[in-house]
Amino acid sequence: MIAWKFLAPGAMGPFSRVTWPTPTGDAPGTWVEAQVHPCTSGIHACEVSDLPYWLHAELWEIELDGPVSRAGHKIVAPRGRLLRRIEAWDRNSMIAFCQACTVRIREVAARSEGAAEYLVDLEADAHRSAAATVGYIAAHAIGVVDGAEAAECERAAQAGFLSNRLGLDVAGR
């Protein structure tokens, strides 16, 4: 299965601190294996809908092998290898993501003082391109005003934006 994985600079797992073997030339990175225990171990990755929850510096396409299971906002497999870095996930894309969230929150803030309070924080984080924080604040603010289902819709909109902007091909994967 093909999925996506956010990593810290240098292809390092943000939580595991493991540096992933990266592809060389046309060859994928070597397989990384782990015992599967949904949250604490296993190879964690994202489907498109999971991406907004885990935004980080680098985005990679990853091939997962073995039984893949879902654990909250991520999927887990016994082994995986990096196929290619999604170069389109760069500072410009982070800025564009933040702007798209800001536009949606401005619309909500125009009809709700509750959301207007969050807009100040969101714009400050957007200014420093803190995409993960901006995405969270946007979903939270919409959730406060319009409820949990609307918050989920905002996350879906963020995932859709990322998929379109980064050209993540989900067909047949």
Binding site: C39, W54, A71, H140
Partner: protein
């Protein structure tokens, strides 16, 4: 979603359990989702990890006698409390 998000105060309280692998799957995911969106807590987690790494390299022989005495006294007081 928003109801399940950890606060920064809650995260600080469970950071040791997180690093020890003592959290449930759901708690661990909430912890990590918070760290992704909160630069303050991400820095805090980095600092704790660094402290553990540096402190883990210290052996008894590395300590000055004065420091050993101070530490032993502190632990005795802590046990009394």
């Amino acid at each position: 979603m928003s109801d399940q998000q950890l606060t920064c105060e809650e995260l600080v309280e469970i950071v040791t359990e997180y690093l020890d692998g003592g959290l449930s799957d759901a708690e661990r995911e909430r912890f990590e989702e918070h760290v992704v969106v909160c630069s303050g807590c991400a820095n805090y987690l980095d600092q704790i990890r660094m402290t553990i790494e540096i402190a883990g390299r210290v052996t008894v022989d590395d300590l000055m006698e004065e420091t050993k005495t101070e530490l032993l006294a502190a632990f005795k007081d802590w046990k009394r409390e």
